[in-house]
């Protein structure tokens, strides 16, 4: 009881110093939590992609298209249940900063292959039956205040012109990590327009999506599809959606690992800073600890007082950091939704935040605790004069 009182009063003796240390730990914990969340979400995004879907693209590069005529030949490959296709459209809504992914797709099969995009049945059929219709993710609809029936105009970048679509449906994700920012419209609409304006680019698709009958046949089917088009004008590369995502972001994985390392470095830095502060504090109080010892208090008492102070300060910082994490995550989700459509901090991350804060307190407290509890009284008392 008394020890606790002494710990708390000691902790707030140098208010500025303590507050700065707490803020330092809070910022470090906040950064740690947000960086970890970023990494988590990235891996979750890869996880979210299905292993039972294959993606076929041009073997040379993603930016080269494939002829639409491939679709029937792919469909005949054994093990293929369904084929759909799409084009990365790259349209911009008003300004570049309003970025969200948008695709021209074959409406029926594509949406069936993505059961994780949940669309009310009436909206789904309204979309399928309107060649100029589109469906848009809940996040993007909320971001721009769109409702079904609204007309949205995108400025084409890959396919020049102003493209107007009528929102026929709004989908939401079946899981927390489902991307709710995309916009899909009819590939036919794109193709017909392109036929008139840039005929040489007509009848081409960016990628085929293949649904497998059995996910375990992914390797055989991929090989069979690619074999079909070997030595043709546009050779293909078929891989699982997951592998596709990974190859798409393989460079990003190196960045993710770097971010992970940085998140630990941040904690180590604040550890060193806090350890220095605690050592400084303990040095100033050596005579007090010696006095307590003189009065008969043991090394354990003094150890508790010093260690407790270190823990209280870093835990206060940790809790503050955790509290700040939620508004920060919310801010990222709303203001940076084009980069982070979902930014949910996992409970595990919160625990790791607190564990990091406790570790900072423990490490920062070790040396001063040892100094304070092993000080020889006569030496400690001499420090005062």
């Amino acid at each position: 009881m008394f020890i606790l009182k002494l710990i708390l009063r000691n902790a707030f003796r140098h208010k500025l110093r303590t507050i700065l240390t707490i803020v330092g730990v809070a910022v470090a914990v906040l950064a740690f939590g947000l960086l970890r969340t970023l990494v988590d979400l990235w891996y979750a995004g890869v996880e979210a992609s299905s292993a039972s879907r294959l993606v076929t693209r041009n073997a040379i590069s993603l930016v080269f298209p494939l002829p639409i005529s491939y679709k029937d030949r792919i469909r005949q490959v054994a093990g293929v249940k369904e084929v759909s296709w799409g084009n990365w459209f790259g349209g911009i809504y008003r300004e570049e900063k309003n970025f969200f992914p948008n695709f021209a797709i074959e409406p029926k099969g594509y949406l069936e292959m993505y059961p994780e995009y949940i669309i009310p049945d009436d909206q789904r059929s309204a979309f399928i039956h309107d060649r100029r219709g589109c469906v848009v993710g809940r996040k993007t609809a909320e971001r721009f205040g769109w409702k079904t029936g609204d007309t949205v105009t995108l400025r084409g970048t890959i396919f020049p012109g102003q493209w107007a679509f009528v929102i026929r449906g709004i989908y939401r994700g079946a899981r927390k990590n489902t991307d709710e920012t995309q916009l899909f419209f009819h590939w036919e609409y794109l193709n017909e327009t392109v036929k008139k304006t840039i005929p040489r680019r007509a009848d081409q698709v960016g990628f085929y999506l293949i649904e497998l009958k059995k996910p375990e046949e992914a390797a055989e089917v991929s090989l069979a599809v690619d074999a079909l088009f070997r030595n043709s004008l546009a050779e293909t590369l078929t891989e699982t959606e997951k592998a596709f995502q990974l190859s798409f972001v393989s460079m990003t994985e190196a960045i993710m690992i770097a971010i992970k390392i940085v998140s630990y470095v941040v904690i180590v830095i604040i550890m060193v800073v806090a350890a220095n502060t605690m050592a400084m504090t303990a040095r100033e109080r050596i005579a007090e600890y010696a006095t307590l010892k003189t009065l008969g208090f043991g090394a354990l008492h003094i150890g508790c007082v010093v260690f407790g102070e270190s823990l209280v300060i870093s835990l206060a910082g940790g809790v503050l950091g955790v509290i700040l994490t939620f508004p920060a995550a919310h801010w990222i989700e709303t203001e940076l939704s084009q980069f982070f459509p979902v930014f949910t901090v996992a409970p595990l991350t919160i625990w790791l935040d607190l564990a990091a804060a406790v570790t900072v307190g423990l490490v920062a407290g070790i040396f001063p605790t040892w100094r304070g509890s092993t000080i020889r009284i006569a030496d400690g008392l001499r420090r005062i004069g």
């Binding site: 003796r13 006095t291 003189t294 009065l295 008969g296 009284i377 006569a378 008392l381």
Partner: protein, 233 residues
């Protein structure tokens, strides 16, 4: 039997030597010191700076270890006690008064005086009674809730004296208790100590540079380069 004429010593120092190691060389501080202090004595230790007064006081108070020799206090040979036993013994038998008061700045006068009682089995109410009594003894009942920074030097030293006597120890050790005080405050502290000896039968060992302070003592001993020179009081 005439034990009443020469009361048995409460402190008995025998052939005590103490040196400090400074780097590779050993600096002798106390050399073969022997003397007794009787119950109810008020002893002043004087001597030039660096002569070893504080060192001797610390040895008697059980906060430093002798190199050789024995110190017996109230029948207990403290030079044989292990650290934890020594801590318990100190808490029960010795009251400390320091030059710079050594109060905990984050605790009020009341809480500072209560400190040594926290190591006893006393209840909260009993502690409160003891603390109030000790503070009234030093005439600071009205300053119980003040923090050290809100008190004058003399008042702080009085709080320290209350802390030293609150456990009712047999001996009080004071290292230059008036060294940091003006004449008036020093006078107050000295008469308080005088009262502790005469009114409460405490034994006090006080290190001082101040001849005025030494005058209050019954006996003055001089330390000169680690050797004790007798002096009357």
């Amino acid at each position: 039997m005439d034990t009443a004429v020469t009361p048995s010593p409460i402190v008995s120092v025998r052939n005590v030597s103490k040196s400090y190691r400074r780097g590779s060389q050993t600096v002798p501080v106390l050399e073969d010191i022997s003397f007794d202090i009787a119950v109810g004595e008020f002893l002043a230790l004087m001597g030039p700076s660096g002569s070893g007064k504080s060192t001797l006081l610390n040895l008697i108070a059980g906060i430093d270890q002798v190199d050789s020799g024995t110190i017996t206090i109230g029948g207990v040979e403290i030079t044989t006690l292990a650290e934890a036993e020594l801590a318990a013994w100190r808490a029960a038998h010795v009251g400390f008064i320091f030059q710079f008061y050594n109060l905990m700045p984050v605790l009020t006068a009341f809480e500072n005086v209560e400190l040594p009682l926290l190591l006893t089995g006393l209840s909260r109410r009993e502690r409160r009674e003891h603390v109030e009594m000790a503070l009234s003894l030093v005439n600071l009942s009205d300053r119980m809730d003040h923090y050290p920074s809100q008190l004058s030097g003399g008042q702080q030293q009085r709080v320290a004296i209350a802390r030293a006597v609150v456990t009712d120890p047999d001996i009080l050790v004071a290292d230059e208790p008036t060294g940091d005080l003006d004449r008036v405050s020093a006078g107050e502290i000295l008469s308080l100590m005088d009262r502790l000896v005469h009114g409460f039968g405490k034994t006090i060992i006080m290190v001082t540079h101040d001849p005025k302070a030494a005058e209050k003592a019954h006996m003055i001993r001089h330390l000169e380069k680690g050797i004790l020179a007798d002096g009357g009081g």
